[in-house]
Symmetry: C2
Subunit: 327 residues, 2 copies
Amino acid sequence: MKIRIGIAGYGNLGRGVECAVGQNPDMELVGIFSRRNPADVKTLTGVPVCHIDEIENYKNAIDVLILCGGSATDLPVQTPALAKFFNVIDSFDTHAKIPEHFAKVDEASKASGNVAIISVGWDPGMFSLNRLYAQAILPEGKDYTFWGKGVSQGHSDAIRRIAGVKNAKQYTIPVPEALAAVRSGENPELSVRQKHTRECFVVAEEGADLAKIEQEIKTMPNYFADYDTTVHFISEEELMRDHSGIPHGGFVIRCGKTGLQGEHKHIIEYSLKLDSNPEFTSSVLVAYARAAYRMKQEGQSGCKTVLDVAPGYLSAKPAEELRSTLL
Amino acid sequence: MKIRIGIAGYGNLGRGVECAVGQNPDMELVGIFSRRNPADVKTLTGVPVCHIDEIENYKNAIDVLILCGGSATDLPVQTPALAKFFNVIDSFDTHAKIPEHFAKVDEASKASGNVAIISVGWDPGMFSLNRLYAQAILPEGKDYTFWGKGVSQGHSDAIRRIAGVKNAKQYTIPVPEALAAVRSGENPELSVRQKHTRECFVVAEEGADLAKIEQEIKTMPNYFADYDTTVHFISEEELMRDHSGIPHGGFVIRCGKTGLQGEHKHIIEYSLKLDSNPEFTSSVLVAYARAAYRMKQEGQSGCKTVLDVAPGYLSAKPAEELRSTLL
């Protein structure tokens, strides 16, 4: 019997999950649940679409529901509400609010006897795991996270809100010299500016004051003021042709020392290079859906994060096969 | 109360564990158990040494025993025998015999109600974990493991057995072009010879036939015949001065595709660069000793591998703190 997956929310992430389920022969996609009128939603694979208000009727038809809404307003409400009926997975990524989100989801999923796994993806997610493993193995050391090269949706949106801007795409880029310094094992102190640069491709409205737009971007607090930022004005056609993808990635690097006097250095590095940020995140969500299903089968309940899930739960292969082929 | 650690076997690995325990404030080292006469064993930190035959008397004084013997003859006997009395960790690394070792240790540790974690280190160990995570996330793809640059003890020993050889050190080196091809996402087919080269530093006895030694090394079946091998003859002084370390490391890289037509590529890479292979392995053993202690506290028993251990168990920090600082 296959693991029956439902998707709540059908944007980039939902479409990514739809594709990822198809790569996992032990899973099947039951349906997509959307706030839109189902008749207006065209899916990639032809899987049925239902209105999100109907979802409770599918309580016995879905083993794990993957929530593909946004962290700002959707997930804080949806994850605790839907954990009352389903095992759920979300990619809640507002780092500062994870403890609060965890508490609400934990209460709901414990009450219903379901398993919920929150903040699944690559950061939070695989990067969090790698920070944990590296810190536990090398307690005397320092770790660094770099993001990019990749598109930051939040920064792109911030540029688009500037008067005179028609469209924009922002790339976050690690500074090569900073990466090299970290990899050398020097454990450097790095400022925000020293770690990343920001590159913006902006389509301006006709007659807009380009110098003023560039100045507004570069001095925008929180988003750009603390970084070295480059602004390129391009045409809408160039933006569509050269910058329509959503690549991302990054690095988690820890350098630590061992030995009686700390005489030996060790560098642990984990990196991702992703053509499609939402599709990779979706693939992580689907692997953790398998884990949630199994943990529930074993009688577990409550809210978990990637830190609580034994790696073996993610694989469709039996433990014996993993031991003989992967160890 | 601290986690009380014992060490069985006092070679490079045992000394590494002795140092690593000192880096973890929630642990204390109770003693070292050796087959040698305790009076003849000088420890790095002054911790007491007892004869291994006495170890059963320490049943209630040790929470986790870390086994630091060899995989060829020590661990196959010691791990099942000592799992009858202790929670144990070992670094059993004969990949082909892991299932058999697991079965024996599982039986012993289930009978005694202890937790045993076997094959802990970096390969098997952290590399195994990374192969698993990457395969689960990107089911349509291919992964590659490269080792080095680092010293292979087994290959160095094989050279030392050749007539006319006084001493030798062998480095395993990943081929840069192979690494580049893998990172490009091409998923190349690579032969043994295409992935790694071998570099040997050999001290010959006076008057030895160097050409014959070089020929014997390069044609040695299993060890060298399938590789491009370079042999350098150097003096004993040069060997001591330039090649006395035990560095190692390597790479686990998986490239996979996502999307409805597999149109997006993703590369996951994990790498280690280690000044001291045994000290890093020891650090991993110590982190998993913490996990074994906790799993036992929760009432678990039986044999586990790194694939069965939730990451959070490795850290000394409480789950709330991990969620708020690492996720």
